[in-house]
Amino acid sequence: MKAALRALVAICSVMLSDEAMADGVLQVGPPPEPTIQWLAIVVFMAFVSLTLVITYVAAKRTGTTEEFYSAGGNLTGFQNGMAIAGDWMSAATFLGMSGLVFTFGLDGIVYAIGAAISWPVIMFILSDRVRNLGRHTYMDVIAFRLDNVAIRTLGSFSGLTIIFLYLTAQMVGAGALIQILFGLPYWVAVVLVGVLMSIYVSFGGMLATSWIQIIKAAILLVGGTLLGTMALSHFDFSLDQMLDSARAASPLGEDVLLPGNLLKDPVAAISLGLAFLFGPAGLPHILMRFYTVPDGRTARQSVSWASLFIAYFQIVVFLIGLAAITLLAGQSQYFGADGKLIGGANMAALHLSDLLGGQWLLGVVSAVTFATIIAVVAGLTLSAASTFSHDIYATVIARGRRDEKREILISRLATIAVGVVAIGLGILFEKQNVAFMATLSLAVAASVNFSLLFLSLFWSGLTTRGTVWGGAVGLVSSITMVCLSAAVWVDILGNAQAIFPYPHPTIFSLPLTLLVAIVVSMLDKSPRAQAERAAYRQQLVISEMGQAGAKTPSTDPSNSTVI
């Protein structure tokens, strides 16, 4: 049991693909020999069986690009809200954030807020406008009145960078978790995950992916609620009692519930905050969800439902982390000889489930964790495949000479290719600390995708030239700053001191992108630029009011100028 728990934690420590792990501060224990968790296997196989049935049914209904990319655009607000929540709530949200609170105490509340606070911003600025202007991907929006080829080429670089960063971290974690559950070699486990996600996406497209996300979100919410309720019952559901107990039990003493254990620098905190606020609004696999509903109004409903589920889950996970401080204290079976939690702090929720519910609860929570990973990688894979087929092939290569059947074939082939690449990356990065990828993906999403979306929607002066220059500068600067930060320059490359002194680049890279895009656009006096500025009015009307009489707006990928 202890060996399995060690392995689970070590694995989960690399599933840190979202904001909760952006600092990469949690400790990873050495992966022990695999031990089979039979109950977890049973629950997990039930989940896989159900999802394969869904994929089979969805495959029969997926014959057009509308169905493959957007599930026909017929999801309800509630369904899509659950799917968005499923896409957002990764294993790192559950295990990583609770581990963060367990280790650093009160500062974990910032990550809880961070996961929830972007949704109002998405609602106010993006959701229905993105839906009204686009068809399959967020690049439909930016390229609406700008040059399609240039914009989609740039967008593909940034979008695929984000997706592969996320995907690698998930694959590493998922492979290791499967290794423990089934006793398989790591590389076999990674291949298994890659094959599963490829099947879901290539056959079932967005319809299968959406329903898998919905089911996963439901079981994650139920699992988290169960664990949280059992934990809180030990404190008579009293926050005061929980806080007093944590102070007494934590090695940090009173300091565990004082700020400053994790976030010490206001510049770093603002940078992290900006990544939280605007990063999710630039994630390709999240934005893609807005095209699965029939209109802008339903897109807004989706955001409302998603914010409700995510907010609830964040509070539950925060309380689980707080409860773990007390309940795990003194339980020597979960601590190593060095006094640290076996396998690292990410293990807190799993240890807690074992403590409160024995092997059955541990098995259920483990299976829920793995289901979460599978669902997230499926969503990321679909987003990557759509970038290849819709943005690169249909627009850049085919220049709008669309053949629907060929495009779907390209999508399916791209899915398999993404699966192969993801497997390769998962094997390559097995021993690496991949937590920095979380920082980088949110930073790129906020700095490049969100910035350019924002400018294209709200500023008539944006031109193709400004977009390309701004996006390129944002992409290069954010990647460079993270590579020069401690997470990569010191921790991975072994240098003595970081060149870039902050863990998060967003406070610098986001304004830089905006500045370059604005200045270059203003200096652009070309005839194309004049036409692009003149076309803003039409874009404004459609973004605000939708395309009259159209359920799914038409965005001709061959359109390079808009009158």
């Binding site: 807020i113 929830a116 004082l258 976030l263 914010s307 605000e544």
Partner: protein, 84 residues
Amino acid sequence: MPDRDYFNSEKSGGLVVRRRVDALLTALTTALFLAPLCLIIVHPDAFSTKAIIGWGFALILYSVCSTWLYQWWISNVERRGGLK
């Protein structure tokens, strides 16, 4: 092509107002998150544990309530303008 008057009129449901509200709410959301965060980091002794947790939970609650209220409001705007 609708002109500026159209966007101010009842037909559009006052969409110009909506864009201004959007900007205001986005700025408000950003300030509600970043300003207290900076204060807490710069003056950690000035805030009790319960106050910080209360701020956190209130902000999470705000994220939910704001999306639902905003959706209700904009739906009414669209309905008045005959856009639904």
